[in-house]
């Protein structure tokens, strides 16, 4: 019974070919927009174009972390393991997106600010956020039993997401009290730049959805495999 229900969730989480094609089209359009269609920024030049994927990755990363929160709360309420699968899938994808943010940031910063890294408010808080969810993933590797792992990581997931606004406010106040030498942006966006940014966000959201579903499906299959193993060892 349980295995049937689980294999159903696993197959329902499979991704249809059209949705993958759609995400690829979106990515292609976003790349065209970011690399060619959008005007070159006056002071920063070509390297500024990394901004579209940098910012949209951060936004999609945030969405993933909100999904961790939703999955964690829903798991505690329902005790259905599928919510835990959603949490782990979203956390991994969110960490991947924030890794992109932390890698593209310095690539952008070096030519523009002359340094790879500065302890500016946004950089510091993104870094801390990344560390926060890396510890979430580490915690998951250290608990064996699935129900127990789901429970403790749901508790930590809730605490970590509640911490996000506090991290942002504290670092923002902290850094704005201290003088900062370099702040990159400001000024108005060309309307084309705004559209490209939105398009990039749509594309990264698409990638996020596909990756989370794939990862969710993997987790569902793992659970199914475990239940078969248990059955086999019972029969033997």
């Amino acid at each position: 019974m349980a295995t049937e229900a689980q294999s159903q969730t696993a197959s329902s989480a499979a991704i249809s070919a059209p949705s993958i094609v759609l995400v690829f089209l979106l990515l292609a359009a976003a790349s065209y927009g970011a690399l060619i269609w959008a005007p070159t920024e006056n002071t920063m030049g070509l390297v500024q174009r990394i901004f579209y994927f940098h910012v949209s990755s951060a936004w999609s990363g945030f969405v993933s972390f909100i999904l961790v929160f939703i999955g964690s709360v829903a798991y505690l309420r329902t005790r259905a393991l599928k919510w835990d699968w959603l949490s782990v899938a979203s956390a991994e994808v969110g960490v991947a997106f924030f890794t992109i943010v932390l890698v593209t940031g310095p690539i952008w910063a070096k030519p523009v600010w002359g340094i790879w890294w500065t302890w500016d408010a946004r950089l510091t808080s993104s870094f801390l956020l990344w560390v926060l969810f890396v510890s979430y993933l580490v915690l998951r590797t250290l608990v064996e039993e699935p129900e127990r792992r789901a429970l403790v990581s749901a508790v930590f997931g809730i605490f970590a997401t509640l911490d996000i606004p506090l991290v942002y406010f504290s670092i923002w106040w902290f850094r704005t009290q201290h003088p900062q030498p370099v702040i990159g942006d400001g000024g108005k966006l060309d309307s084309r730049m705004g559209w490209v940014l939105l398009l990039c966000w749509a594309a990264t959201l698409g990638v996020m959805t596909v990756l989370i579903r794939l990862r969710y499906r993997l987790e569902a299959l793992r659970a199914e495999l475990d239940s078969y193993r248990m059955e086999a060892s019972r029969d033997a």
Partner: protein, 224 residues
């Protein structure tokens, strides 16, 4: 039994256990002392510099101490599986967590209050005129530390490598407390002292958010 009374019973049990041996308090106090001494090698601890760096290192030492001290909160119960016995008691499960939180808060605050004069002497900071606001910051910061730390101690107790895991979970979540308490303490030690209401309010918000979160998840966390 009401929540408050049950919490009181658990708290008195925790205090009794600790004050019979005092091992946790002594070990933690010595640990903070070592950290404070070792920090003095990383910069020149003259008075003007220590005003700027002192509060930060003091709070960092408290955070490290908390992340080590709070381990035992739930590990102590595992030796004889006494947590199962506590769970059998006809009380709100949150009161177990709340009692431990209150006990951890008192232990940490005690260590901090013992070490504050030592720190003041070693780093040549005058704390007596500003004792009241300093205690206020200590209290607010320590509530946040104890609230999150006790919950994570219950989380880490169920995992492998728990001694290493608790600091890993606790320290990034406590970054806002470190910033807020350090900034508030720097303001208080400034000449003339100023009490930063922004940071005090922020600390109070942190405490409220995580005490509420602990209250919401507490009963799930303690179930078998």
């Amino acid at each position: 039994m009401t929540l408050v009374r049950a919490t009181g019973v658990i708290l008195s049990k925790e205090l009794r256990t600790e004050f019979r041996s005092r091992e946790l308090l002594v070990t933690t106090a010595v640990f903070v002392l070592i950290v404070v001494v070792l920090f003095s090698f990383t910069f020149n601890p003259t008075s003007s510099e220590s005003r700027r760096f002192g509060p930060g290192l003091l709070w960092l030492a408290f955070l490290f101490a908390g992340s080590l001290m709070l381990q035992s909160s739930f590990l102590r119960e595992q030796t004889n599986d006494t947590l199962a016995a506590l769970r059998l008691a006809p009380i709100d499960p949150f009161s177990i967590l709340a009692g431990k939180m209150a006990a951890n808060f008192l232990f940490l605050l005690l260590v901090e209050v013992i070490l504050l004069p030592v720190f003041a002497v070693l780093y040549n900071v005058a704390i007596l005129p500003v004792l009241t606001p300093l205690l206020l910051v200590l209290t607010l910061g320590t509530i946040g530390l104890a609230a999150t730390g006790t919950v994570f101690s219950a989380v880490a107790a169920q995992a492998r490598l728990r001694e290493l895991l608790l600091p890993l979970l606790l320290l990034p979540v406590l970054a806002p407390v470190l910033i807020a308490s350090t900034e508030a303490t720097i303001g208080i030690l400034r000449d003339p002292p100023e009490l930063s209401l922004v940071w005090l309010t922020f600390l109070a918000c942190f405490d409220v958010v995580f005490l509420t979160a602990a209250w919401m998840v507490g009963e799930y966390l303690l179930e078998e």
